[in-house]
Amino acid sequence: MIPESDDHPLQALLVQAREGDVSAFEALVEASRDQVYGLALRMMGNEADAAEVLQETYLSAYQGLANFRGDAAFTSWVYRIAANFCLMRLRHRKVRAAAEEALAEPEFTPRGSLAGMPSEAWGRSAEDVALDAELRACIQGATDALPETYRQVFVLKDVEGLSYEDIAEVTGDSVAAIKSRLHRSRLALREAIDRFYSEKGLKRDGQDRI
């Protein structure tokens, strides 16, 4: 999430940093870098690219401090810079040939009814339940497998908490296109988690019988 409200203590540092106080700028970096890194890692999908985005972002922020009007929170501002750097890099990457049709969807009967029920294991996925390493790996794999433009939208909206309008601004796509990609990404990830739960359940049942 982009913190908007708890950013005020940073305003004093911002004033000092603008006046050339390097340690004040370093304090601003420290206060915001985890969020910026998280965004970069999820967008880029690997640590090396994320670390480079982080460097570009803060260098650009440092050089642009004089132009930063301070009407947005500092963290939101660097966050926006980072999102732009990520998108620029992603545009240069060779577009993976993942066809849209490859996205998993729920199955329906010919009459349009849902063909199956979700795995019972979903019941245990309430927020307070520990996310085990296997499920975490399954979700990371499924997110990485989404077509690039879908993954961007999903990460920016559901993980980072940006508004549709903000995403439209950084990606240059229409809000309608963004919503459609978000929905299809959620459906595909839901299918992946459901399959994970079902297979795990089958495995466990099998062990029980032995």
């Binding site: 670390a51 009814s113 199956g116 979903w122």
Partner: protein, 77 residues
């Protein structure tokens, strides 16, 4: 009468609270009698929560220190 497929196609709009009231009412009529859809919506929402938690990342110390070194080098100029 709406089908499950009709309902799931417009789920995002519904959950975002951006659906015209009469359409929302028609959807809720379907949901009222459809356990698979109710379960589907619950797991659709859980997907976001689970993914958000699964994808959380803390910056490794090595990245933090190389960022600091990089910026110090550039800020001197």
């Amino acid at each position: 009468m709406k089908t499950c497929k009709d309902s799931i196609d417009v789920l995002l709009q519904y959950l975002d609270g951006e659906m015209p009231p009469d359409e929302a009412k028609a959807l809720e009529e379907h949901l009222g009698g459809c356990t698979p859809c109710v379960d589907f919506i619950r797991t659709y929402r859980d997907t976001t929560n689970l993914c958000k938690r699964a994808l959380a990342a803390k910056m490794p110390e090595s990245v933090a220190s190389s960022l600091q070194g990089f910026l110090r080098e550039r800020m001197k100029k």
